[in-house]
Symmetry: C2
Subunit: 301 residues, 2 copies
């Protein structure tokens, strides 16, 4: 689970410490405290129809798709997984403080598609009416008129235009494309591995989020070619397979649950990220940037 | 050099593409274009008295200290480097989407200090008058009344209190501490490896920035202990040495230069990150978050 924690809280430094000074703030519940006190109804299991397992030699990456935001793209990614499109393909790019990307490294003899479409209409933004789960944050944001969470995903919206979109936070998965907005079909995906590149919002289809296994991607050696592409075949990590969870025997599925972002409990999580206290803290911003609000994931209880 | 670039710009996808649609924006200079057109006076070499080389088995990490913001801490880090304090110590922590931290892993028999101080007064914020180089960005920010750049570092300020501080952006280096605000002395340092944890601003002393070699730290395997600390000695990467550049023979120094953030050229860099155009772009936010404004570094010409 990705939870923000104060630095060095458990680390005894190598010299005697006086008691906390007068500068510290009154204690407040942490994200960990709130997760611990949560109720079963604050969580939802992953939907097997919207969950992908990318199997790497180093382990499993679990990706949750966001069909409310990308109905067409999610359908095509399901089709790609069902025709074993990704099996034997590779991680092709790792650019520091930006993205890791995967797909077919062979541009000259690309893997043929079976039922999956070669092009999918851009889903950079969708009508706000498509998203029934949005809960706004009061925190102001320079990239969008409104930000918040929708069914476990960081999202943003523009009430004037009536459009909403998923936000490029750490761990979000997008659909690589060329200049044509409709050129992405989900056969090349990327995940954000650095500071949120929110300028990509509304420019590219964001399809979901890595909910487990993020470190298997974020620690990959950076590619030495332009934009972090790997230059030699042996530098690329091979993908064993990508499967829809629904197509995997139940015993082999990851049993994960995500905190429901529509709950009062999740509002408390966001507030804990916004207002910090306790003996380590001398200043609390009373603000949290969208991508610094953690979305807890844990093993199903 | 860390430069943000549009995704997939050079990546021919595996199917024929039509010409760019009407949705694309007029071309605008990119950060790369502006760097290319810059003049020698737009750059400054690193000051050897404020530059650290951390030598790892995998290569050199170059850290620039910010003495305007941390005169006391910088002096103590120089003293630590000069007494070879870090040699043979280790990277002790790697927490995904947060920080990598280094120092003495042996809490029971910690390395003795020679001339370096065991405690340094907190430098979480300093009087604005100490920083002569600040250039404000017009972009609003939820974490501070004002943000911008000071002599190559992302910084923030509060004109009401008259205080300024360095911001926790990707690559920024801070001084781990315990609950006592004055407990950090620079013998344990961390670098931000994920989404900017700006809630740490004003809570901890930020001493500088990694200007080269960031990927040697950001790709380290994540620690499996609480807060990403490594649990076993063999998981820790050993530090060969940390030296002040001034103490290294000139022929062995890294010849890097940083773009002067007080120049018109740098204002154009920030504007290129704020306003994007060209055939790939369908939406430009007209805004850039402080930590998404790149600070170019290159080999000296």
């Amino acid at each position: 689970m990705r939870v923000l924690t104060p630095l060095a809280a458990t680390l005894a430094l190598a010299f005697a410490l006086p008691a906390a000074t007068a500068a510290d703030l009154p204690p407040r519940p942490t994200v960990g405290d709130i997760v611990k006190a949560s109720k079963p109804g604050d969580w939802r299991p992953l939907d097997p129809q919207n969950t992908l397992y990318m199997e790497l030699p180093s382990g499993r990456v679990v990706i949750e798709l966001a069909p409310d935001f990308v109905p067409g793209t999610a359908a095509n990614i399901r089709a790609l997984a069902r025709e074993n499109y990704f099996d034997g393909l590779a991680i092709i790019r790792s650019q520091d403080n930006y993205v890791v990307q995967w797909g077919d490294p062979d541009e000259e003899h690309p893997r043929a598609l079976k039922k999956a479409a070669a092009k999918v209409k851009a889903e950079f933004t969708v009508p706000m009416a498509q998203d029934k789960h949005f809960v706004a944050m009061p925190d102001k944001d320079g990239y969008a008129p409104q930000v918040g969470h929708s069914h476990g995903f960081p999202s943003a919206r523009d009430p004037k235009s009536g459009r909403t979109w998923l936000a490029h936070c750490y761990g979000m998965v997008g659909v690589a494309r060329d200049n044509d907005p409709d050129s992405g079909n989900g056969s090349q995906l990327y995940v954000v591995t650095g500071n949120a590149p929110r300028h990509l919002d509304r420019n590219i289809t964001v399809a979901g989020r890595v909910v487990s296994g993020m470190a298997l991607l974020s620690t990959l050696p950076r590619g030495t070619g332009p934009l972090g592409f790997y230059e030699k075949p042996e530098q690329r990590l091979q993908i064993k397979s990508v499967r829809l969870a629904a197509d995997v025997p139940e015993a082999e599925r990851s049993k994960l649950e995500v905190m429901r972002t529509e709950t009062d409990t999740y509002a408390k999580v966001v507030d804990a990220a916004r207002n910090r206290g306790g003996p380590w803290t001398v200043y609390s911003p009373g603000y949290v940037e969208l991508c610094n609000a953690p979305i807890p994931v844990r093993e199903q209880k």
